[in-house]
Symmetry: C2
Subunit: 723 residues, 2 copies
């Protein structure tokens, strides 16, 4: 009973911890963003009278690039495992692959601090993937009660020591992270189960669900407390699409949704393909030197900022509609934009007063001229002096591009989902989609801590809105609102990129809070997955594939029914006798890359696989502490004298007496199911007389992978990197 | 691609079919209930002037008893497998146990028609369990394209022929049933996975989820269409708790919730224990004759009606609060009650006019007298003549007991959840809880089609409300609303009875539509499960145990680490040679109750288990149709001449060449995981020289079951019935 209680306590702390983490990241982003805007405001104020608008813009870029460089350096030099969303790695880990450094404290710090810096740096990225990863790391740390801290272990207590338990905790941590990010405990749990967990078990899922629920609730509580009303619980998650009031749909709208879904699948595959090419290019040329990685991130940040400002200053998409601005950061951004324009208009007045002063550079000049023209058109220049104008827009209107670009991707997503019909023009939406899509592709895979959820949703929402505008044009009587098209577009785009189905449906349903619209979301995710799967695998799977991790999927690959165990087993087998010379054991351990060896009986007439010896039990010095410590002694570091080598050692106490075996007639799918169903790492292949003639490991199985390219299925034999 | 599409099509039809089923049952209940009330109204009208109120009451009882008898007879004589909720049986089936007749058309008819009759018969039962069962049957029928119809098979097409596929479909059907019943597609899916499915697989869950979503949506559509507004979609499920507006809670309320949860666990175990005793008693004495089963059901119906009327006429709990009556049946019941009282008041007037007429029986007389006293107290007898009064209550008020009893359990549940604070007095709530609890225990296990969800929820809501009243008394400043206590009570009671956690949480969250209250529901379900598990197993597990079905749970039973395969395997083994005499095969098949036999090589020096022969492949006449047909030829019906018996038969083409084997050293948990992980039905136990020395089947494993009684864990060896 004590054990049960303490295990629940750990799951509880995972939830609480993840909530603190999520709330901390959110609050840090908000506070620092505020400081950033304050700073830039000062510059504007100072620059005001000298007419040097290019200065604050350059400073803005500089700040972004600087922040991004710091973030990239943190990830690259402290723990490269913290790059990207982390979900593919967590997935691999939960699948049973050992990923060194994934759950270390360094990765935790790089991930959490890194994601704050990435978002502040203005990159097109979200914080959901990193949230899941850092939740997982924290869970592992809480479970182990021991954190690998720069080579040393900090021991607290030792409740969960075996690999299996830690894996369960990591699953809970990842679920809590997603739950805290989206305010979706059910969706988070299912995400963890669908994307990550290899073994489903009611007890485990219940505990994971518990953590996720606690995380969701506590995040809500903490963020509400930060805003000063802890009992009102108005912040169900970091990202919330906000409920759509009266979300209804007609059956005749379903074809439109299917069209949107198909486009989502197509563009999703395009995203995956482009990112794949980019990743391969990076692996080949760019990521050989660490400083190149860091510089690349800085470059992306500068390009993002340039693209944003260029679009904002050139596209004059003025709208009088009120932007949807319930998001704290968005609000601050709007205030900042107000400041910026305020000063810009003051600036103008200065220009008019003193036209000879030419302190502007070219682009700035052009912008100023355009603004001047508009001002003159307006004819109420002096009256407008005190008015708030927004980037070249006059009167009460503001530049819609700034609503999309001068905010975090989350704020942008919300605006795209909820802003009224007229807010964005077709041209600005198209430009936004193209540029944000390219930035998204470029950003994902940088050596920074970044998630792909929010940018994908934002891209999808933008082109979904575009299609919605088309529908409104065609059927002006029927369609009144483009928000639902934007929502379906967002779902389809994300589905087309990730190919996750159950959990995404549930997450989006939980975010919108409408169950009957769930059917539409489900159908669009289904179709975008089908369309996408026709061309490529999902983004995470692509990631795993490119990094050469031997991941076993849910089902044995197709087209392998006629591959037998004799075709893919590793042979010959190194066998040990049950009483063996130390020298031979040493040679085996240092020479082979396997981690398990069949032990056979000495009598040569009956070769029975007496047992199988897991490698980690033979680390010689580690016998007093059988838990596989990440920093444990390497076999090559052990010095053995010749006399030592001549000693014999009885392996009987350490070996697994009842290993699973397969006979030569086992087919690939059968062996696959044995591995998946029983969570094996090694399987001894025996012939009819029970002599061990081969070993099968995950890597042997993962070699075979079915590839679907352009609708054709073919088998591929991967070269799995030895790691 | 065609196969994939058709498989999705089948899952789609399962959703649609279940929706039609659910809507059909709902509409049938409503229409017939309406007719019933019309009929009784006529009697009241006729009886009106003669002052024979006892007549309609007796007729009401008679109608209820009659309907129940028909329902019970239908279930008992047509297909006894249709009795009860069906979920334990579906669970066993999905676990891999063959339950004959479970998925037959007879069971389908008995289940669907039976549940309508049970509800109309006024039993304390719901329609969610039967919904899940009949959804499962329909799914199996749709998948097989063949329905066993009184011994013959109706073949339509043959897409899904193997057991595994059918099982997946049944899981989808069960999920759709729950989803349609509660309007909870996510909860339904999780229910199916948690309670039923033995193997979790993303692809499968996605398809199940799809069916459930379609079912939920279509039910909504159909019921809305029935009410005349198909596009408004106002009926998300058959049972919907209706959303609680502004459901908030303080952290300090959590201790109260925990108290409620603990009570739920206690009363839940009490329910299970009482039902267990009753079931054993029934199995021993009552259910030997079929007509006794039918009579018992009729008796329960009469007793339910008597209890209801007795309470309504004796307890004068008058309230002026408006009952919550958005439910169609409830509305009709209220109209009917109005009629009843109208006539009763007219009746009174008659009495006053003609006091010498003594046509009433005793109970009725008493009631009349009480009414009279109240009338006289009121002092406005004549003015009240035209007013609508309700069962002894005067003025605008009505009898709260009638709100609870004169409706379906669903309507009762809704009233208890949503009625305002003052509606029910403490005394009437206590009486209701006690009587409804006893009726619930008695009803579950009758030979009628009935579910236990709704009665459990109603009981819990009643005592939750009671506790809520106490809280309001103690802290009049804080607590204003008792609805949330009723909700937590309902959840705890159901959790205490069923011990299902994840899916119940999600179902209730989906029903109430509030995610932040989900934490409270989750905690109360968790605690009620813990408290309940301390005393007994859950109701469904108890059912399975009593019926002797060899069900394998998720985890190996505790305390069995030192039980080895040699302790529980069946021996000696009947082995067959790979070329064997027909006579020996015949003897094996007719003599043994096993379904698989190891085939060994002829050379007596090397005993290798050459393969294993599944029984259903040797049904001799069945070779041209290897699918195991329920009505296939029995081995005993085959006549073999002595000459036939001397023939030899080559078994090589039919045997499984790579059977799974276990060595003698395998421990119980290990064998358990092999069975669970790989879905085995047989495992050959071999010694070191690979001679088959034993067989392990599910029954051997299911023999061992850990029992927790009064907090003490002990192992029990069950005697598993051979079926």
């Amino acid at each position: 009973a004590w054990e049960m209680l303490s295990s629940w306590l750990v799951y509880f702390s995972i939830g609480i911890g993840t909530a603190f983490l999520a709330a901390g990241v959110q609050i840090a982003v908000e506070l620092i963003a505020h400081q950033k805007f304050e700073l830039i405001k000062d510059f504007f104020d100072r620059c005001d009278k000298q007419g040097c608008l290019y200065q604050p813009v350059l400073i803005w870029m500089g700040i972004n690039a600087g922040i991004t460089l710091v973030g990239a350096a943190l990830v690259t030099y402290v723990q490269p495992m913290a790059a990207g969303s982390g979900i593919p790695l967590i997935k691999s880990y939960l699948n049973g692959v050992r990923v060194p450094g994934l759950l270390s404290l360094r990765a935790f710090i790089a991930k959490c601090v890194g994601v704050v810096l990435s978002i502040l740096g203005g990159l097109a990225c979200g914080k959901e993937g990193p949230m899941a990863h850092s939740g997982g790391i924290m869970a592992a740390g809480l479970g182990k009660g021991r954190i690998p801290w720069f080579g040393k272990d900090i021991n607290i207590y030792g409740l969960f020591r075996n690999d299996h338990n830690i894996r369960d905790l990591v699953a809970a941590g990842a679920a809590s992270g997603v739950s805290a990010a989206f305010g979706a405990p059910i969706g988070g749990t299912l995400f963890s189960v669908e994307e990550a967990a290899s073994f489903w078990n009611t007890e485990l899922v219940w505990k994971v669900f518990f953590s996720a629920m606690i995380a969701c609730f506590s995040t809500n509580f903490l963020l509400s407390a930060f805003e000063g009303h802890p009992t009102q619980l108005s912040n169900p998650g970091l990202v919330r699409f906000n409920t759509f009031p009266n979300l209804t749909f007609d059956l005749i709208e379903i074809p439109v949704f299917i069209l949107i879904a198909a486009i989502g699948g197509l563009t999703g595959s395009l995203f995956v393909v482009m990112n794949y090419k980019l990743t391969v290019f990076r692996q080949k040329y760019l990521h050989r030197k660490k400083w190149i990685k860091v510089l690349e991130a800085g470059l992306v940040s500068v390009v993002s900022a340039v693209a944003a400002f260029f679009l904002m200053f050139t596209v004059k998409d003025c709208t009088e509609a009120d932007p949807y601005n319930s998001h704290a950061i968005t609000t601050k951004v709007i205030i900042m934009v107000t400041m910026l324009n305020n000063s810009s208009s003051n600036n103008h007045v200065d220009d008019d007063n003193d036209d000879n002063e030419n302190g502007h550079d070219d682009e700035d000049d052009e912008e100023e001229e355009e603004e001047e023209e508009e001002e003159e058109e307006d004819g109420r220049m002096i009256k407008a002096m005190m008015m708030i104008r927004k980037l070249g827009c006059s009167g009460e209107s503001h530049n819609s591009m700034s609503t999309m670009f001068l905010t975090t991707p989350e704020g942008c997503l919300k605006s795209l989902l909820h802003d009224p019909l007229e807010t964005y023009s077709v041209a600005s939406l198209i430009l936004f989609v193209v540029i944000f899509f390219l930035l998204g592709v470029w950003t994902y895979g940088l050596s920074v801590s970044s998630g792909v959820f929010i940018p994908s949703l934002a891209i999808g929402a933008a082109w979904g809105r575009l299609i919605g505008l088309g529908v409104v044009q065609l059927f002006p009587d029927q369609a009144k609102d483009v928000g639902k098209y934007a929502l379906i577009g967002a779902a389809s785009q994300l589905g087309g990129i990730l190919r996750t189905t159950i959990s995404l449906t549930v997450i989006i349903v939980e975010c919108t809070g409408d169950i009957s619209f769930g059917l539409c979301i489900m159908i669009s995710l289904m179709i975008s997955k089908w369309v996408g799967d026709f061309f490529t695998t999902g983004l995470y799977d692509m990631n795993v594939e490119v990094s050469g991790i031997p991941l076993l999927s849910w089902e044995p690959p197709p087209l392998c029914d006629d591959i037998y165990v004799s075709d893919f087993m590793s042979q010959p087998v190194m066998t040990l006798l049950s009483v063996e010379r130390v020298g031979h054991i040493y040679d085996c351990l240092s020479g082979e890359s396997f981690n398990g060896f069949p032990v056979i009986e000495q009598d040569p007439s009956v070769f029975c696989p007496e047992g199988q010896l897991p490698r980690n039990q033979v680390s010689l010095k580690d016998f007093d502490n059988p838990y596989p410590v990440p920093q444990r002694l390497k076999i090559k570091d052990i010095e053995l004298s010749e006399a030592d080598k001549q000693c014999v050692m009885d392996l009987t106490p350490y070996m697994n007496l009842t290993p699973y075996t397969a006979s030569l007639g086992f087919s690939m799918p059968r062996v696959f199911r044995l591995f998946r169903g029983l969570g094996l790492r090694h399987l001894v292949v025996v012939n009819d007389s029970m002599e061990p003639i081969g070993m099968v490991t995950r890597k042997d199985l993962a070699k075979y992978r079915a590839e679907i390219k352009k609708g054709m299925l073919h088998m591929e034999q991967l070269t799995v990197e030895n790691r």
